[in-house]
Symmetry: none
Subunit: 131 residues, 4 copies
DNA sequence: GTGGTCTAGACCACG
DNA sequence: GTGGTCTAGACCACA
């Protein structure tokens, strides 16, 4: 598990998932959590690629996906910027959360856990406080 | 989204994931939910392959992964059977659930949701009805 | 790991190897260790198959291999008998041991263990007395 | 018995065992003996397949088993690499040796050889020179 | 009949 | 270029 810092951003990459997806997820999460301000510039493809020791192609892939989801805008010759629309970020966040929750519930129910079971399992986790 | 039935088993396959993984997941889920009895024979590689319209290789891949996880035993020349150890199935189920929950919580927290937030979102889903 | 007794013979069958090979090995070992007397009759194919809950084909396969190696003789209408030649049994035993030792040394040396290393590892095992 | 060289690696393949298993064993042995350095890249699936005149699938099968045992890591789009953990390799080696020794002793004792007998037979072999 | 190995070749995602 | 999945089919050992 490799961990790298660039500016205020921290990235943890491993081999279990496509690297571009990990960059995508971790960058999106940082935006959504407010760790990168609205309208702010994010590192250039080359810069980030170098910092993460990854080929520029990989970073580019992640950036393109972010742009497609409306989270970033590319300004010719200036670089890539987080959208300045708080609304859009919020929408992105809640839609993503919805998908994540859906997938989670579907998976758990496929394993035979009822909604009540799931609630219990989650409470146990919250009470335990480990992790 | 293709849906096929074989015996009491129902399979839904799509192109979003490797087919063998979908077979693996759906078969494991069926076992874990008790839809296939302990020690029971599951469809032969060829039989399931034909029913799902995939090559025997693909089904075999799934079956070998199931065996690796201890969920099935293969008896040469006879077929593939669910393990007769209830304990092993239970362990498989709870370990898998643990992983699913971990991944879920990690993902949600990366999006800036607190445990309390997550609980609220889930309750809203539960109140809203099944889906 | 299934364990079955028939007459003075004990068999342990599992799924890790071909069943006919396990029968072959365990029967041969019993002969070689003197647990079955020279010239003695061994169980009929059907009898053993029934006792081991295995198809007669499987037992037959094992018996044919034993006959091929000269350890048994089939007398028409009477059944299968251990050879009465002590010499032949002894030769079988030492040839087999030679092969087993060869394979063992070759495997260990492929893992980078010298003959001295191997001796040490074996002594440790003998001293420990566990197992 | 076919013998092929690729880089510093030598492979001997025959028909007595599954090819993928022979690749697995011989590659693992090479790693364990230090013939491939920790963290080093091993031949690509296609490269080795071509050198050994087998299909890429067969090599892949072997590589996936190696990864499962923790001996290698695969980096998407880059290739397959020996783990850089010396510890893991050592553990793999000693566990494997243990299994080999166990199986050997069990087999010999089934043939009626005592530990003392086995020691004698081995010493005779060692005195006699290398094979 | 069963699982398992293998071939020959295609196509994909990733870097 | 890399690993990985999949197809379509053959052939084998085993029960």
């Amino acid at each position: 598990m490799d961990e790298r810092q660039i500016g205020s951003l921290r990235f943890q990459l491993d081999l279990s998932q496509p690297i571009y997806e990990q960059i995508l997820q971790q960058m999106s999460s940082a935006v959504v959590r407010g760790e990168i301000a609205l309208g702010e510039k994010i590192p250039s493809v080359r810069e980030l690629a170098q910092a993460l020791k990854v080929t520029p192609n990989t970073v580019m892939h992640a950036y393109q996906e972010m742009e497609r989801s409306g989270l970033t805008e590319t300004r010719r010759g200036q670089g890539t910027f987080i959208t300045s629309s708080r609304e859009r970020v919020e929408q992105f966040r809640s839609e993503l959360a919805d998908e994540v929750i859906d997938a989670f519930l579907q998976r758990m129910m496929a394993l035979g856990y009822s909604l009540a079971d799931i609630r219990k399992l989650l409470e146990r986790r919250q009470g335990g406080g480990s992790r």
